[in-house]
């Protein structure tokens, strides 16, 4: 019988009773064939690979991470709490050393959910990796964490949550934003003024296959990880780079995904997108599990797998090589951008579109440029006809001046805002007014 070289916990939660809508890609059937494949392969008969049920994320777990406007209940259904709870279970297994690594094979996904959430963007309501990371840091203290987002879509939500956080290195590999939703994730997005170089974007051209993708991992991701020396590596493991995925244009294979995880050696992997539910997911998920457990995956392949037909053209490969030569500099020698500043605050004003829910949010973010701490942050969010919302975040190392200013504004006269939320990381208080 097979034995895992490295023990792996798999939180398999297919949410067989939940869908965005009947024919939406994010529906009940999505992990059905993956489960069939797991069962037939006897994945959980392998010594060292164990199946777990998810935990359930509480209001506090979510409010610690997000500005949930206007309420948690308005944004989150039970499915989101349990999906995030699946990621938390994965973290618990690894942090408590019950298993050496863990894979949260849960749905719905979360990597398009930003710091402020007003609704569903790109199938995501709350950011399940971010909820997990904040759960880890609340319980186990300050950690250096690397999130490598291997979903085919730019992980714009996770990028936004950690834009100002120098402790979290976020690297997204994705199909070039000029050709795919959400249309962001360009190399010049390198993080906020306090976290320069801690955001990395690797936009890959359409039809990138195994060689090109793994080239980027080897030439860009691994050297940066070696320098950053994270306490934890998290793979935000979307599976829509697959050659059979119906909503993207890449040419990655199950073998490629398995090799990618073998190279990356993530402590925790969390499923994101991936909607070729019959042709890709059963094989990709099997490949990832085997690779994470250190088992032989060489015989895992799609029934129609033919490396010659999916291989990238020479031009594509040359483009990727050129790109990968330039990208590491953005981490090692980041150049400060032209950050807008008003009265001691870095300011960002943005419009954010929630495609699934058809909401347009106007958002203004102010981060205090403090030399004593990471700086208090304020966000003002208005989304269509919904209530105007105001969020205050005090960092874990908050100085007295920022703390006083934060609470003063949290308790200020309404000033046209109906909802106020405080994320006080210093005192671990997460409340609405």
């Amino acid at each position: 019988m097979l034995t895992a070289k490295s023990s792996l916990g798999v939180i398999f939660f297919p949410a067989y009773d939940w869908a965005i809508s009947e024919t939406h890609p994010e529906r009940e059937e999505r992990l059905l064939y993956t489960q069939d494949q797991f069962r037939e392969e006897g994945l959980f008969d392998i010594q060292g690979i164990t199946e777990y049920r998810p935990l359930r994320a509480s209001d506090q777990d979510i409010l610690r991470t997000h500005f949930c406007f206007p309420t948690v209940g308005d944004i989150c259904t039970e499915s989101h709490r349990i999906s995030a709870g699946g990621a938390i279970q994965a973290a618990r297994l690894v942090m408590e050393k019950e298993t050496q690594s863990a894979f949260a094979l849960v749905r719905p996904p979360g990597h398009h959910a930003m710091k402020v959430v007003q609704g569903n963007r790109g199938f995501c309501n709350i950011n399940i990796e971010a909820v997990m990371v904040e759960w880890i840091r609340e319980r186990y203290g300050r950690k250096k964490i690397a999130i490598v987002d291997t979903d085919c879509h730019h992980g714009d939500g996770t990028q936004d949550v950690y834009w100002h956080d120098p402790d979290v290195l976020f690297i997204s590999l994705h199909q070039d934003g000029r050709t795919l939703y959400p249309g962001s994730g360009f190399p010049n997005e390198i993080g906020g003024p306090k976290a320069l170089g801690k955001t990395m974007n690797i936009p890959l051209p359409p039809n990138t296959s195994d060689e090109g993708y793994l080239h980027a991992i080897e030439q860009v991701v691994l050297p940066i990880l070696a320098d950053f020396k994270p306490d934890l590596v998290i793979n935000s493991a979307g599976q829509d780079n697959h050659y059979s995925d119906p909503i993207t244009n890449m040419s990655f294979s199950a073998q490629g995904y398995a090799r990618l995880n073998e190279m990356l050696r993530p402590d925790i992997a969390v499923l994101e997108g991936g909607y070729s539910i019959k042709g890709a997911l059963p094989y990709v998920n099997l490949g990832i599990c085997l690779a994470m457990a250190g088992c032989d995956y060489s015989n895992v392949r799609e029934h129609d797998y033919d490396p010659d037909t999916i291989r990238e053209q020479e031009d594509t490969m040359n483009y990727i090589k050129r790109l990968c030569r330039q990208l590491p500099d953005l981490y090692f020698y980041p150049k400060p951008g032209n950050y807008e500043k008003e009265a001691g605050y870095f300011v960002r004003e943005r419009e954010i579109f929630y495609d699934t829910d058809n909401i347009l949010e106007n958002q203004r973010e102010e981060l205090r440029d403090c030399d004593q701490c990471s700086g208090v942050r304020f966000v003002k969010s208005r989304a269509g006809w919904k209530q105007a919302c105001y969020g205050v975040e005090l960092p874990w190392d908050c100085c007295p001046v920022c703390e006083q200013e934060g609470y003063a504004r949290f308790h200020q006269k309404n000033d046209g805002y109906q909802v106020f939320q405080m994320i006080d990381r210093k005192n671990k208080q997460y409340t609405y007014r």
Partner: protein
Amino acid sequence: MRIGIDIGGTHTDGVLIDGKNLLTAAKVPTVHGNLLESISHVLRLILSGHDPKMIDTLNLSTTLSTNAIVTGRIEPVGVLVVGGPGIAPEVFRIGEHFHLIPGSLDHLGTETTPLDKKRLNEAIVDCVEKNVRSYAAVAKFSPRNPKHENTIKQSLGDKADFVSMGHLVSGNLNFGRRIHTAYYNSAVWRTFMTFSTALVESLRGFEIQAEINILKADGGTMPLSRALENPVQSIFSGPAASVMGILAMVPSESDVLILDIGGTTTDIALFAGGQPLLEREGISIEDRPTLVRAIHVESIGIGGDSQIRIEDNTVMVGPQRLGPCMATAGPAPALMDAFNVLGLSHFADSHRSLEGMEKLAHGQELDARQLAKAAVDAAVNQISSKIDALITLVNSKPVYTIHEILEERKIEPTKLIVIGGPAMVFKELLHNRLGMEVVVPPLHEVANAVGAALTRTTAHLALTADTATGMVSAPRVEVFRSVSKNYTLAKAVEEAKALLIADLEKVGVAISAEAIQVTQADSFNVVEDFYTVGRNIRVVVQLQPAVMSALDMTKVDIPVINQS
């Protein structure tokens, strides 16, 4: 009237039961190598004074298959395996005649690589040359499409006396387990068949015309004719028979734990709402997981003869057993001796117990009594933590719907039924430690035979339908037919029940649709290119283990005829 016989490793136990009433019970030695002799022996004792023609059911729990496997007295099996992509099928190599035949099916049952007939024939020739007569044919995803397995069976033709086909051993997915199950099934088939023929002959001699059933590890029975097709299902039925016997003696609708405390080990089983907790997929044989459904039994190395020792100033009990306890002239102090020293029991020679414990305590910072108390505490703690672990396990088993996470009933046993030699001694201790009601039923030495007599047929059937591809399949009963677009979940449940009823009717077992439990009924929208093209339906139905009637415990005060 019903007869229950349990052939165990040491004893063969038999009971005769009429309705709720235990009429006779007997215990004789098991004669390995001639189990029929043991059966005849026990039958003579329990039938004495009763008309054998009144017996309508004889249920037999036998170690025949288990022993054949454990002692290696099994016949060679030609294992013909069709793998395909995924975990390399070589991992599941078993026996001396294991052949991989190229070919593959995907998870929908679609043939993606045709079966390599040339390689198949070469494998068959090789097996025939080595005088192999018994075969196992197993393809990955065969429950979705039995084509390759059927082809193998056809190609074998009369070169095989017996072929176990993977899709018939269980409708459930799990390729490796299916290979192991089919292998063992074919390996014990001839032994079982020979035994069965002799058994039928012998019962004729007793003028017994009863229907004969064989006990399974899931606590239920199967008709003898079914057992001839699936002899592997008869393995490890002994512990299951005991558990069912206890349920017949102490009927429990709530959650209960059952402890069988023996000389070397304590076995722990759990009943939730009257249903035994089963192994998730199946029991393991020689450390190889199979698809044989079985009651989940946790074993822990604590029993009356568990050795007591002191390591690093800590008193430890078990899992070693050096022999019987000192009270019965054993070599070293054991748990039973500790009970004797504390006055909790007066088993055999208590003086020897005390002598042994004093010797062990000598030079330590405690006296014999303190040592005995520490040993008993350690034993109770071990049992108690194992019980906690079992309850945690059952309450944390994976679930796949939001509904289950939010609504699922937590399993919280409030009663403990204890049997076995030291059961009475443990009664008060376990009550104090766990705060549960503890019951020690009388007559526990023949609980296994009572369970055998009173348990009923169990069966299990999985049905899968895909209205997009237009197929419905119930592999275990060989149903693979086309289905129309308007096939629904309700129709699938109805069909699964009807198939299970018909399947049992074939072997003379009549059941009603109401007795059938639906354990899975799911229907998924199948979407292609953003349009619904059909529904994928999954149904599992079962006839769960249950006792025919509870034993009238006011009338069990009969002597067990003990000739062991």
